[in-house]
Amino acid sequence: MPAKLSMQGLYKVFGPAPEEAVELARGGSDKDEIYRRTGSVVAVNNVNLEVAAREIFVVMGLSGSGKSTLVRCINRLIEPTSGQLLIDGQDVLQADEEGLRQLRLNKVSMVFQHFALFPHRTVAENAAYGLKVRGVGAAERRAKAVEALEAVGLGAWADALPANLSGGMQQRVGLARALAVDPEILLMDEPFSALDPLIRRDMQNELLALQERYAATIVFITHDLHEALTLGSRIAIMRDGAFMQVGPPEEIVGAPADDYVANFTKEVDRSRVITLGRIARRDRPLLAPSEEAAAASRKLQDAEVQGLLVADSNGKPLGSVSATALLGADPAAKVEDIMERPALTGERDTPLAAVLEAGALGAPVALLDNQGRIDASVDPGDLLSALAAARAEDQNLRVGGTA
C-alpha cells in the first residue's frame, strides 16, 4: 500500500543563503556550523518519512528542533527549500496555487498550539470556517459544524464566542474546526501543550476516539514523551531539524538509538511502555485437558517455564496450570481437574504493567489470533524478569543521568 504521506530528503532553511546551507547540510555540517558560515538556520534537515493511512505519527523534540516548521511544510504554510513531499502519491511541492488551495480545502486541515480561533466569530462559525471557505451554504455548514462540535462535546456552545470558553474548550473548537471538513490528514502542532495536565489527558483520549470515528491520518507534534507514547503508532524523535529515530513507542523506549533519545525516555516507567508483544513467544508447549499431571510436569520442566496454557483441540485457551499446582497434584490427575480457568489473555500492545497479577499468580498470559486461538504466550517468569530488567534500566539511567 502506498503511503498516505511521504517525504524524501526534505530541507527547510531560513535565512539569506538557503541553497548553500542545504549543500553544507548534505555535506554533513551541523546546524551551528552552517549558521556560523552562512547566517542561515537549517530548521528541517533531510527528513524522510512515510505515514500510512490512519496512522498517528508523532514528531517529538525539544523547542526549536524544527517540529513546527516540519508540520507547516506539509500544507506549505512554509515553503520547503528542497526535497520531495507526496500526499496520496501526488507531488505537493509541484502544485500551483489553486492545487495547493484544493489540498488545504479538501485533504489537509490543522489544529494550532494557541488555538487560533477567530475571536469575532461564534464557536459554530469558527467550526464552520473551513466549509465557508469551501463555499458550502450557510445552513449546511452550520449543520456540519454543530455535528463536529457535538463530536467534541461542545454542541451546547455553538453560539458562544470563543473568549467565553476555557482553554480546553477552545481547543475542542479548534479540533471541531479541523474535523468539520472531514480531512484525510490532520496536522496538529502541539495542540495540547497550552492545556493543563488533567485536561490534556482527557483530550488525548478523546483524540484517539475521534481518530477512529473520522478515520483521519494524523501528524501530531509534541514535546511531551508521555503524550507521544500515548498517542503515537510511530514516533519520530527530532533534533536540530533531523530525525534521530523513528519507530513504534516500545522501540523508542526499549531500544533508544542514542543518548539523545535515551535522555528523553529515561523518565518513563518502562513497565507501562513495554508491551506483551515484545516478550511473547510462540515456542511454548500447550497442554491438552486430558493429559496427566506427570506428563505435564515434564513438559513444564523441559520448557523451563513457570506455567503452561491448556488449550482445546482447536487451540483455543481453556485455562492454565502453574508449576506450584502441578507439583502439589496427584501425578495421575487430569490437567483439566487442576487447571485455573479461564486463561489470562492480553493483546500484543498491552503494557506489562497491566498484567502484573499474572506474574504474581504464576499464570501464563495467552495472546490470541483473530480466530481466538492461542498465537503466542508470555510466561510469568519472562514477565517478571522483563519487569525487573526494565526497572533496573530505569534506575541505571536515572543514576547515569544525574552523574
Binding site: Q102, S109, M110, F112, A116, Y129, V133, L165
Partner: protein, 315 residues
C-alpha cells in the same frame, strides 16, 4: 563680526529662485497640462457634496436632531445623546442651523472620499512593505505642510468654492485613516491569518473574514481622527470660498465682529464633540456587546440586543 561671517551665508552671493521654480512648475506646467484631469477629479466630489448638502438642508430640524440623537444614544450612550440634543437646540437657537448643515455636508463628503481612498491604500500598505515605505514620507509631508501652503495651487487648479474647499480638506484629513487602517491590519495576529490560510482561504477571504473585522476598531479610530481633522479645516476652507460655519467665523474675523466669529466657532466645536463621541462609540467595543459587525450595528440601532453570552467559564 556679523559682517565678517556673512560670507558664509548663501544669500551673500545672490538668491536661489526657488519661488520662481515652484511658480513655474505649478502655473506654467501643472495647470495648463493637467487642469482637465483635475477638473475631472472634481466631478464626483461635486456630486456627493451637492447631494448631501441638499439632503441635509431638506431634512427638517426636529427630524435631523432626532436621528442624530438616536445614533448618539445607540453608539455612545445616554449622556452623549442628551448632549447632542442640547447642542442641536443651541445651534439652531443661535441661528446657524443652515451653515451647520453646509459644514456637515462638506465634512462628510471629505470623510467619505478619505475613507474610499484611505482604507484601500491602508490595506495595500499593510500588505506590502514597499508600499508602506513609499507611503510613509508622503503621509509625513501631508501632515506637516501647513494647509495654507497648498491652498494656492488648489485654487489655481480647481478655482474657488465649496469643492476646492472639500479637496483641500481631503488632502489634510487623509493620513490618519491610511495609517490606522494599515496599523490595524498589521496588528492582526499572524496565527489567525495562518489558520485562515491553512483552511484554504484566498487573499480576499483572509482580508474580509479575518483582517478587516479584527482591524475594525483601529480603522474606526482612524476614521474618527480623519473626521476631526476635516472639521478643523472648516475655517481654512472658507478662505477659498467654502461656505458654512467656517465662513461665519471668517466674516466675523474680517469685520472684527467677535460675536459673529464666536457663533461660528461654537457651532464647529459642538458639532465636533457630537461627531467625535459617536464615531468613538462606533469603534469602541466596550460600549457594545461583542465586536463590530454591520448587522450588529443595525440591530443596535433598531434597539434589538445582539445575542448575549452566558457567564464566562473559568479555565
Amino acid at each position: 563680526m556679523t559682517d565678517f561671517l556673512s560670507w558664509l551665508s548663501p544669500s551673500h552671493y545672490g538668491r536661489l529662485p526657488f519661488a520662481d521654480w515652484v511658480q513655474w512648475l505649478v502655473r506654467d506646467w501643472l495647470v495648463p497640462n493637467f487642469r482637465p484631469a483635475f477638473q475631472a477629479m472634481q466631478w464626483p466630489v461635486d456630486q456627493v457634496l451637492r447631494g448631501l448638502e441638499a439632503a441635509l438642508l431638506a431634512i427638517p430640524f426636529p427630524v435631523f436632531t432626532l436621528v442624530l440623537l438616536l445614533l448618539a444614544w445607540r453608539f455612545a450612550g445616554r449622556g452623549v445623546a442628551l448632549f447632542t440634543l442640547v447642542a442641536m437646540l443651541f445651534i439652531d437657537a443661535i441661528g446657524v442651523w443652515a451653515e451647520t448643515m453646509t459644514t456637515l455636508a462638506m465634512i462628510l463628503t471629505a470623510v467619505f472620499f478619505c475613507a474610499i481612498a484611505g482604507i484601500p491604500l491602508g490595506i495595500w500598505s499593510a500588505r506590502s512593505d514597499r508600499v508602506a515605505a513609499t507611503l510613509r514620507p508622503v503621509l509625513d509631508i501631508m501632515q506637516t505642510i501647513p494647509p495654507f501652503v497648498y491652498l494656492v495651487p488648489i485654487v489655481m487648479l480647481f478655482g474657488v468654492g465649496m469643492v476646492p474647499g472639500v479637496i483641500a480638506t481631503i488632502i489634510f484629513a487623509l493620513p490618519p485613516i491610511i495609517r490606522l487602517t494599515s496599523l490595524g491590519i498589521r496588528q492582526v495576529s499572524e496565527e489567525l491569518v495562518e489558520a485562515a490560510i491553512a483552511f484554504g482561504a484566498t487573499q480576499r477571504q483572509i482580508l474580509f473574514d479575518v483582517q478587516i473585522p479584527l482591524a475594525m476598531r483601529t480603522i474606526m479610530a482612524g476614521l474618527n481622527q480623519t473626521l476631526m481633522l476635516a472639521l478643523s479645516m472648516a475655517v481654512i476652507g472658507a478662505l477659498i470660498g467654502a461656505g458654512g460655519l467656517g465662513l461665519t467665523v471668517y466674516t466675523g474675523l474680517g469685520r472684527l465682529d467677535v460675536g459673529r466669529a464666536a457663533v461660528g466657532g461654537v457651532g464647529i466645536v459642538l458639532i465636533a464633540i457630537v461627531l467625535d463621541r459617536i464615531t468613538q462609540g462606533l469603534g469602541d467595543p466596550s460600549l457594545r456587546d461583542g465586536t463590530w459587525t454591520f448587522s450588529g450595528s443595525v440591530r443596535r440601532l433598531l434597539g434589538l440586543a445582539p445575542p448575549r453570552m452566558q457567564e464566562k467559564l473559568g479555565t
